[in-house]
Symmetry: C2
């Protein structure tokens, strides 16, 4: 751990900030006390590093995401609990896209000295709640004061049988292209929130409380038919472009097959926008787009909570992203940047 700035631990103001009251070590200790027992965690919080055990034949999957206040979230529109849960879910979604099982999380948190204790505690509780939901114990991290915005970095560690890990690079021409989960919903929810429009609760929930399709990703890895997978965090086209690049293939989407959530249709109509643009260029949906190398249906979860599954197109050899319009015409399409808020 890097030493903390003493001045930030004892700010000049008389206002008692959350970090002052709880203290860095107090925050870590309160997390450590709540850590459950996990057989693969030999050492969790409390040493220079966490020590984790991988099962035989498994490889390590590691991913990190940085969330910055007023770039990735606003404390005005999301609760600390929601931000804590979301910061875990977006990272678990990356593990899901690899078909990995979580091993643990490292959470680094830079907090302004004036942050209320209640915010920090609720953030911690949200983070730990999501960690428990996904079976990803918090095994380490760092906390520090910050003169600027709240900054959260989560590193998610997972493992998968090396022979089963899903990547962006294995799609082949002729593969079927599938989508698990919704797209466009989080963007509609964000816009409805920003516009202060009531209703659109599914959309707002998709934006504020995204769910990672962890179990489905693991089922895809286990089914042996999935040639490539990615989580749709930057918009469907933007993420499919990564599969196109890494697999050196093309992708053809069927407009008629694209799933449109009723709230997305209603929101697009309300603001006079093209609903297909929400589906193609939404963002933060944390759906999974994947290729299957046979024509059978995508696998179902035996637990009964299979996400919405739609076959949305096919993998081609053109090297291009194309959209087969409902009238049969084929168009080249380009991913468009996603306006966060």
């Amino acid at each position: 751990m890097v030493p903390r700035n003493e001045r930030d631990k004892q700010p000049m103001t008389s206002r008692k900030s959350g970090l002052t009251v709880l203290g860095e070590f107090g925050l870590i200790a309160s997390i450590e006390r709540r850590a459950g027992q996990h057989t693969h965690v030999r050492l969790g919080i409390g040493d220079d590093a966490a020590a984790l055990t991988l099962d035989p034949g498994h490889e390590l999957l590691a991913t990190a995401d940085l969330l910055v206040q007023d770039v990735h979230f606003r404390t005005q529109t999301a609760t600390a609990h929601q931000i804590g849960r979301k910061s875990v879910a977006v990272n678990i979604s990356d593990l899901a896209a690899m078909g990995a099982k979580p091993l643990g999380l490292l959470a680094s948190l830079a907090i302004p000295s004036a942050t209320p204790l209640k915010w920090i505690e609720q953030f911690r509780d949200g983070l730990l709640e999501a960690a428990a939901v996904y079976g990803a114990p918090l095994v380490g991290g760092d906390t520090t004061s910050s003169p600027g915005p709240i900054v959260i970095n989560i590193t998610a560690l997972g493992s998968a049988l090396a022979t089963q890990t899903l990547t962006r690079g294995g799609a082949r021409p002729g593969d079927a292209l599938w989508l698990a989960g919704n797209v466009g919903l989080a963007r509609a929810g964000l816009e409805a929130l920003e516009a202060g429009v009531r209703g659109f609760s599914a959309s707002k929930s998709a934006h504020k409380e995204p769910q990672a399709l962890l179990k489905y990703g693991m089922a895809l890895a286990a089914c042996g038919r999935c040639s490539a997978c990615i989580d749709v965090s930057d918009g469907l086209l933007g993420d499919l472009a990564h599969i196109v690049a890494r697999s050196r293939v093309g992708v053809e989407l069927d407009e008629a097959s694209l799933p449109i959530h009723p709230e997305v249709r209603r929101w697009a109509k309300r603001i006079g926008a093209d609903v297909i643009d929400y589906v193609l260029n939404g963002g933060e949906d944390y759906a999974l787009a994947f290729a299957l190398h046979d024509t059978r249906k995508a696998p179902l979860l035996s637990t009964g909570d299979t996400p919405a599954l739609v076959r949305i197109g096919r993998v081609t050899d053109t090297g291009a992203l194309t959209l087969r319009r409902a009238d049969g015409c084929l168009e080249n399409v380009q991913p468009r940047g996603f306006v966060h808020f």
Copy 2:
């Protein structure tokens, strides 16, 4: 990856910022192009997660450190290259304290839009240089714009034979206590820098360009005689207190044995401070304090670059941190917070 704020990618000002020119994906791509081949890296940058292979019998060690501008570093007194190197070294030091061999690094970087391209490139080069020195390839991470200070999170991943991993928790009464490397030097260097005093180059270098004792930590793990180890980032007493707590032992330091670097002695004399306080309560030294369960000397590196080694005391059963003064008196001592700058 979490979507970026489009407004930050295209700031309203006409001034071309580093992040605008290079772009997030440009920065990642430039790092990916420089990534060397590492047999244990099956997938590096470019997928939803990195895929790494551990050797048989090895466990995973994982640690994260957050560095915040104007809390942990200042761009006025350290170059971007130095900050890049330091952000790697402080994390590698945690792996060193576990006796681990590096597997890879994940680097998350929040950068103000106005940061010059040159700063970002030099930071990247410093980070990659240190990554190469320690054999820890950059395998992932995240970059985003930030409305606030520069924030850097590095996650270091390593592995060690599960039977050899060093922890804070294995020290036993009767063990000899040793120190590898200097203490107090980085604090003297920081104070000399802040005071604008010339000279004290070893001290300033210790502050700005700390070295992680990675090879020595690995040698300690391999020697089979080391019962506990910690890196001295928060000051010798502060870090020994962690060994006391985790091992449920006491520690007795010999004042007469404590190593005092000539520059630390000179700096303390210059400002009229107690030199022993620098040794006991410095910070950011990244030395290794460790316990050996026999009375033989600490192991030497066959490569000839063994750090300074001093036997500084012993492990006791008192549960307390004590200091045997040069006159024979035994004092209880308490760690003191470290003023960063």
